[in-house]
């Protein structure tokens, strides 16, 4: 009896702990769990799409539901799966890599997570309440203005809430990297993953506002009768496309640049060699980010912007291949002459190189504005972006999870199961998406519900569906690996003979990260100490009390307020009583904001004695 009561209490304490946490490492766990959940959801939607396309004129699902599936698959995968998992990895690792005790705004960090979570929840609740959005993940005004029901309204409200969280994350990470680097951690000593986190955060900061505005315009038009996209009153629907892609193209770099950072860490660690061309890598990252803002109209070659505009955007697009190529060569040269270890993390990194290179190559093909009239809106485009997003972002996520799992959860993932995850997934990706290029070239348009028999599309689609199921097998083995490893051995502080600061603290890191802030003596600080010192990072300050932020339930409650208000926005067009939810939810959140601002929160201190005890424990 007594023990169950204790277990029960500790369970609720555990939940409460995560609801109120502002610790970047726990917020990372939340992001990974939330993103992982939506990843499974998006994966199921993908399989439903592929089952529908397994044979000609299939009627597995209706045309309307098919549209909801493609829309929700794309939207979920990009906004609710890939980005949150990436943000989770950044949260878990970046502060450790720069020798910081947390991020600049821990409270805001928690708010970012809960906004993402409730935004995603809102979006997906549309399935239960009368139909999901069905105008594609791009939700062009031409389609979305005509879509009946409330699906698109859910898209608007859900993405607006989740997007606000992402924007705050961007600001938070930039401020963290600018102000909180440990003594000696100059910009040009930052690990590549920290660099790409930094540049990605800048991309988020400048790319998300156009999306925010675009969603506002769509909201005003759909819910409040304005005329931005109403051609009869002088509106213009091409504006939507511009704003969407001014956001959308940088968005694809938000998804890939952090993974470039991950691969840079992994190649260096498992080649036991310093990253080749560190400086070039940093500047290539910046160049890609900069060019990423200059090429949005390559998604609009067929809109009719004119040959001059199209030509300029085509040249800009192809130029991005140059810094990307620099990176590929630097990774290859990092392995060249190194002592290469091939384990699960490294397998994903090695699989990434050819896969992503093919995706980049088809990208350059698409970047030719003349040829794009043939490719546009065909399965060729679907093949292209899955090669880069799956071969880049998803492979990167798997690589990062295998690499940093010990640091994040204190357990090493099983190697055998790791390899068993990789091979079906890797083969599945190429089976699924390679044939899609050919299907596209033979004329199969994207986003079509059925295709006709005997038009040379049957075999390709069958192969593609088989590949999709293979990827599903890989994903399931990964879940099994997580469960098996949870009962496995505890991880050492530095299981991979690492080079960067995160491997200098225990696995998982203590809640204050560093008892004493580390002193950094160069690039790859831990490696330097292994080679030239005693393998321990010197301290930059005497042992003293450590300042910590207080936890808070306000971020969670505030996000609920916005969530409720989201329903108000969606349904006020049906019934004015929904204004109660709209204003009530907003008022609740604003009141919490005021409370947060008015109530002093000085944080607390971990006494020196406690840190001393912990250090003694570690030394034993």
């Amino acid at each position: 009896m007594a023990t169950t009561a204790a277990a029960k209490r500790s369970f609720w304490e555990f939940i409460w702990d995560y609801l109120t946490t502002v610790d970047h490492k726990k917020i990372a766990h939340l992001y990974l769990a939330g993103g992982g959940f939506f990843f499974i959801l998006g994966g199921i939607e993908a399989l439903i799409i592929r089952i529908q396309l397994i044979k000609p004129e299939n009627d597995f699902i209706s045309a309307g539901f098919y549209n909801e599936m493609i829309t929700m698959h794309g939207t979920t995968m990009i906004f609710l799966a890939a980005m949150p998992i990436i943000v989770g990895l950044m949260n878990a690792i970046m502060p450790l890599q720069i020798g910081a005790r947390d991020v600049a705004f821990p409270f805001l960090n928690a708010l970012s997570f809960w906004l993402f979570f409730f935004g995603g929840l809102l979006l997906n609740l549309s399935f239960l309440f009368g139909g999901a959005p069905d105008a594609g993940w791009t939700s062009y005004a031409s389609l979305s203005m005509d879509s009946s029901g409330h699906g698109i309204d859910y898209y608007i409200a859900g993405l607006q809430i989740a997007g606000a969280g992402t924007l705050m994350t961007g600001i938070n990470f930039i401020a963290t990297i600018v102000t909180m680097r440990a003594p000696g951690m100059t910009y040009m000593r930052m690990p590549l993953f920290t660099w790409t986190t930094f540049v990605t955060s800048v991309l988020i900061l400048f790319a998300f506002p156009p999306l925010t505005i675009n969603l506002f315009l769509l909201m005003f038009d759909r819910m409040f009768g304005t005329a931005f996209f109403n051609v009869a009153l002088g509106g213009n629907q091409v504006i939507y496309q511009h704003l969407f892609w001014i956001f959308g193209h940088p968005e694809v770099y938000i998804l890939i640049l952090p993974m470039f950072g991950v691969f840079s860490e992994i190649f260096a660690t498992f080649s036991r060699k310093r990253l080749f061309g560190y400086t070039a890598m940093v500047f290539a990252t910046m160049l890609i980010a900069f060019l990423g803002f200059m090429v949005w109209a390559h998604h609009m070659f067929t809109v009719g912007l004119g040959p001059v505009a199209n030509a300029i955007f085509a040249v800009g697009t192809m130029a991005i291949a140059v810094p990307t190529g620099i990176k590929i060569f630097n990774w290859l040269l990092t392995m060249w002459g190194g002592q290469v270890t091939i384990n699960s993390a490294m397998l994903w990194a090695l699989g990434f190189i050819p896969t992503f290179t093919i995706g980049g190559m088809t990208g350059v093909m698409l970047g030719s504005n003349v040829a794009d009239y043939q490719y546009h809106d065909s399965y060729f485009v679907v093949g292209h972006f899955h090669y880069v997003i799956v071969g880049g972002s998803v492979f990167g996520i798997f690589a990062a999870l295998h690499y940093w799992w010990p640091k994040m959860f204190g357990r090493v993932l099983n190697e055998t199961l790791g390899k068993l995850t990789f091979w079906p997934f890797f083969i599945g990706v190429h089976l699924t998406f390679f044939v899609q290029h050919l299907l596209g070239l033979m004329g199969m348009p994207r986003r079509y519900w059925v295709f006709l028999e005997d038009q040379s599309l049957d075999l390709g689609n069958l192969i593609s569906t088989i590949g999709a199921f293979l990827m599903g097998v890989g994903a399931i083995i990964f879940v099994i690996n997580i469960i098996v490893s949870a009962f496995g051995e505890k991880a050492a502080a530095d299981p991979w003979d690492g080079r960067t600061l995160e491997w200098a603290v225990s696995s998982p890191a203590p809640y204050y990260n560093f008892a004493q802030l580390p002193l950094v003596r160069g690039l790859d600080p831990l490696w330097i100490e292994k080679m030239e010192g005693n393998g321990k990072i010197p301290a930059a300050e005497p042992l003293g009390d450590v300042h910590m932020p207080n936890g808070s339930i306000i971020p969670f409650l505030m996000s609920i307020g916005f969530f409720i208000s989201g329903f108000g926005f969606i349904y006020q067009t049906d019934n004015v009583y929904w204004y109660l939810a709209l204003y009530g939810g907003l008022a609740f959140s604003i009141a919490l904001m005021i409370i947060r601002s008015v109530k002093d929160d000085y944080g607390y201190y971990i006494p020196k004695e406690e840190l001393e005890k912990a250090l003694e424990g570690e030394a034993k």
Binding site: T226, A227, F228, G234, V598
Partner: protein, 210 residues
């Protein structure tokens, strides 16, 4: 030996020369607000783009030449520019640790902001009742109210923010915990002012002349 931390470092006897950046939290706030304003710049830039694309789409309704009167807008510009200046005075007194004078100038800043907002509300009411020019009447109307109203919303938010700060800290004097808060507000307020300068030129001047 074991002593409990009382956060006394936030309330020093002698204030440092830049109290707003003396703590790590203060420094974070300082950088944070600048990055936030970077994002805000893009928000407004997007709305400016939308406005420029739609400003001649009047759908038979009144055009910008018929609507705008530069007199009122000139007064509004003066009010907001002056409020930016008074907030500079306030920050000057903050760095000299003169709490009373800082409050005085912040108060004036807020009043000027309210004056600006009152003019704007009058302006909008005038367009709606006398011209039937609304958020819904044409694409031009939608774009105009979205841009100018979004700015007005920022002014309103700033006034509420300032009021909360002033009420909360009225009896406390200056310390290293609240100095960054005042400074963050003032940076935000300058930004709102700069955006208005662009609205004044792009919307009103170009609308009247161009």
């Amino acid at each position: 030996m074991a002593q409990v931390h009382d956060h006394s470092e936030l309330f020093p006897e002698v204030m440092p020369p830049e109290p707003e950046k003396a703590t790590l939290e203060g420094k974070n706030k300082f950088f944070g607000i600048w990055f936030f304003l970077g994002g805000e710049t893009v928000l407004f830039a997007s709305l400016f783009g939308v406005y420029l694309a739609l400003k001649n789409s009047t759908a038979g309704g009144p055009s910008s030449q018929e609507l705008f009167g530069l007199g009122l807008v000139f007064i509004m510009t003066m009010l907001l520019l002056t409020s930016s200046l008074t907030s500079v005075y306030a920050m000057y007194h903050m760095r000299n640790n003169d709490f009373k004078k800082m409050y005085l100038w912040l108060g004036i800043t807020g009043l000027l902001g309210i004056g600006f907002l009152a003019c704007e509300i009058y302006e909008f009411a005038h367009y709606i009742t006398d011209y039937g020019f609304t958020f819904r009447s044409s694409a031009f109307g939608s774009a105009f109210y979205a841009l100018v109203g979004f700015h007005g919303g920022h002014v309103l938010f700033g006034i509420c923010w300032l009021t909360t700060l002033l009420i909360r800290n009225a009896k406390r004097g200056l310390n290293l915990y609240n100095a960054p808060k005042f400074n963050t507000f003032s940076i935000y307020w300058h930004f709102i002012d700069v955006v208005w300068v662009f609205i004044f030129s792009v919307v009103y001047l170009m609308g009247k002349v161009g």
